[in-house]
Amino acid sequence: MKKAVLSFLCSLKLTIGLLIIIAAASILGTVIPQQYDGGESLRHLSPGLVKAFRSLQLFDMYHSVWFIILMGLLSLNLIVCSLNRFPTSWRLFSKIPSLDRTKPFENLSPDRVLVTEKEQNEVVRRAEKLFLKRYKRIRTEATANATLFYGEKGAYSRFGVYVIHASILIVIAGAIIGSLLGFEAFVNLPEGESTNTVHFGRQRGIKQLDFTVRCDKFSIAYYDNGMPKEYRSDLSFLKNGDVIYQGSLLVNHPITVDGIRFYQASYGSIPGAHAYITIKKGNEEGTTIKVRAKDSFYLEGNDATATVERIEENLMPMGMFRGPAVLIAIQSSGANISFWVFKDIERIKRRIPDLFQKIPRFNPGLFEPYYFKLNKIENKYYTGLQLSHDPGVSIVAIGSFLIIIGFLITFFSSHKRFWIRVDEHEGKTRISVAASSNRDPVGLKREIEHLIGHLKGMI
């Protein structure tokens, strides 16, 4: 019974089966929206299905009990397999094969046999020198009419596979440590405000930090074509009223304070932006006013009211009509009209000279004889910060590094063994070369050809 369980746990069937099941489950996780990303798309599913999915934890699949069990089984499989096979590998590594006089040399192809007129002792001396230079763990044996050499290289390659498996376990251990002892949290912080309370991501609830973080300023920079170039939060970290760290947080450049890493994750505008609008009548100087959305004001000398319908920091993120704009609505005895006033109207007009004919609603002088000009929008942002603390990271990094070492050992080295026999045959000295390897037959063939080339050179 115990044996049956053990042989099941270290069977290749289990390994392949688990790899395929984990792959298939992962596919499921990429198709079903994970709630962690925001459960928006749940509305497309029927309530029954949602209930079934929820009971199977499919909305947070990668942290579900059954997925963790699968990963646990894979780890167990790795451990049991490795422990089970290790003694054999150790034997193959440490044991030097006996200098069998005939077996390695059976069925040797003719091109692995050299014949020379040179004296046997001389050939033996030179062959030994060559072996000592090229191989490790040399053994020699002289019998009445023959001398045998054994040498090998790359015996360590037997352990490459254990290095890989151990490093995968190290990575998994690092991930477990991270998920048990680490945390991930978020906070939205308006400009000028500070907090020491953050919200957990996956686990619900809040966390109190030992320090306070303050957002001094948030800013966005754009490229000429309107694509975002930089999101920057100027942050201050305070402890007992003293600033312990001050710096700019950028995407790809996290800030670490007290072992907690801060990331620039998102941003947004706080309602209540101000717009500075200049209103001109004909060739007059014009007056500038500061307004908020939904503010109304009278237009002087004309029986009309203007209302600021919308204030947009960036009406269309990219393209020609990007940039700040306000929507003005006019109520007058004549008619009710509304139009957009772009801050960069000159730039847009250069690109489309007949803009006002095409789209009258984009004409800031649509309500004659008035002309509206948008000077600037004063906007207040909040910055979206992500916090993380993960003590498992260095362990995962070590594991990842070791995986690559393990690959190099496993895939680019092999345990090659060589036998040479020097004896007398029909009055001449005969040299026979035999070899074996646990992998890479092509590499072994190349090595044998090399060795024979050297032997030819010395006789």
Binding site: L19, I22, S26, I27, M227, K229, V251, V396, I404
Partner: protein, 279 residues
């Protein structure tokens, strides 16, 4: 049109010619078509390398300097470049042109998709904040060398299966230029190993990048998850070979399935929500 995209457009045709020569060579069974096939692949590769350097320099002239590895167009071009580079190294190492007919067409298809699809924007664009990282270059290079090696393994797998159809004393010249099944199996295994190592490096560099950009080295984003799925498929393949000694047809089929997963990791993921949407 900017000069580098013009050159890359021409390279597409050069690779097309090369693919046609390789296929002619195989179908007619005449070595006559071999040298022009190799030569056009090499000329294409050199011209493409030149165009990539030019594109890099051009981006600096525009004041938004970055390596040409930052959007779908540039990744497709680079994908073709890695395929041809790896293939030519292989052709030179094994001294045989027999694999070209099944590999170079992939490079042509990637170039053609980049150059002629209306959905692929060939302009040099500045880098959005998430892409402004030193890890961009190493991550993209390792991933695409992995993809290219898997592409070659898939081509070899296809050859293996086709070879299987025409066995049993079929002496028509078409089969003559298909290498022996053992050689195909061995080469396919080596390609998968190279691909597997590069994919692992790609996942590791990606994790390091994610750790500095998104706050976590692994967040089960669809692209991450699919790269893991691909990794698991090839891991299963290598285990069945190492432990069970599986060879031949089963390996050929697995290398084709694995390539399907590579393609989904590359393109299919764009239809799923996630953080890699700019690729």
């Amino acid at each position: 049109m900017i000069i580098n995209t013009t050159i890359l457009g021409w390279v597409t045709f050069v690779y097309f010619a090369s693919a046609i020569f390789y296929i002619f060579r195989m179908v007619t069974g005449r070595e006559f078509w071999g040298p022009p096939a190799s030569l056009s692949a090499l000329v294409g590769l050199i011209a493409q390398t030149f165009a990539l350097i030019l594109r890099w320099a051009e981006s600096y002239k525009m004041g938004i300097g970055h390596a040409p590895l930052s959007n779908l167009y540039e990744s497709l071009i680079f994908f073709a470049w890695t395929i041809v580079l790896l293939y030519l190294i292989m052709e030179w190492r094994i001294k045989s042109r027999n694999l070209g007919a099944f590999v170079i067409p992939f490079a042509f298809l990637s170039m053609a998709y980049a150059s002629f699809s209306p959905h692929v924007n060939s302009r040099i664009q500045p880098l959005i904040p998430a892409l402004q990282s030193n890890w961009l270059i190493s991550h993209v290079i390792t991933c695409f060398f992995g993809y290219a090696a898997f592409t070659i393994a898939c081509g070899l797998g296809l050859m293996y299966l086709i070879k299987g159809l025409g066995e049993a004393g079929d002496s028509r010249h078409f089969w003559r230029f298909l290498p022996g099944r053992e050689i195909l199996d061995e080469l396919s295994y080596h390609s998968v190993v190279i691909g597997f190592i590069f994919l692992t490096l790609g996942i590791i560099t990606g994790s390091v990048w994610a750790y500095s950009a998104w706050g976590s080295y692994w967040s089960w984003d669809p692209k991450e998850t699919w790269s893991l799925i691909t990794w698991l498929i090839y891991a299963a393949m290598l285990h069945s070979r190492f432990v069970r000694g599986w060879r031949g047809k089963r390996m050929a089929i697995m290398s084709i399935i694995g390539f399907g997963s590579v393609l989904f990791t590359y393109f299919g993921v764009n239809y799923l929500p996630g953080l890699h949407s700019y690729f």
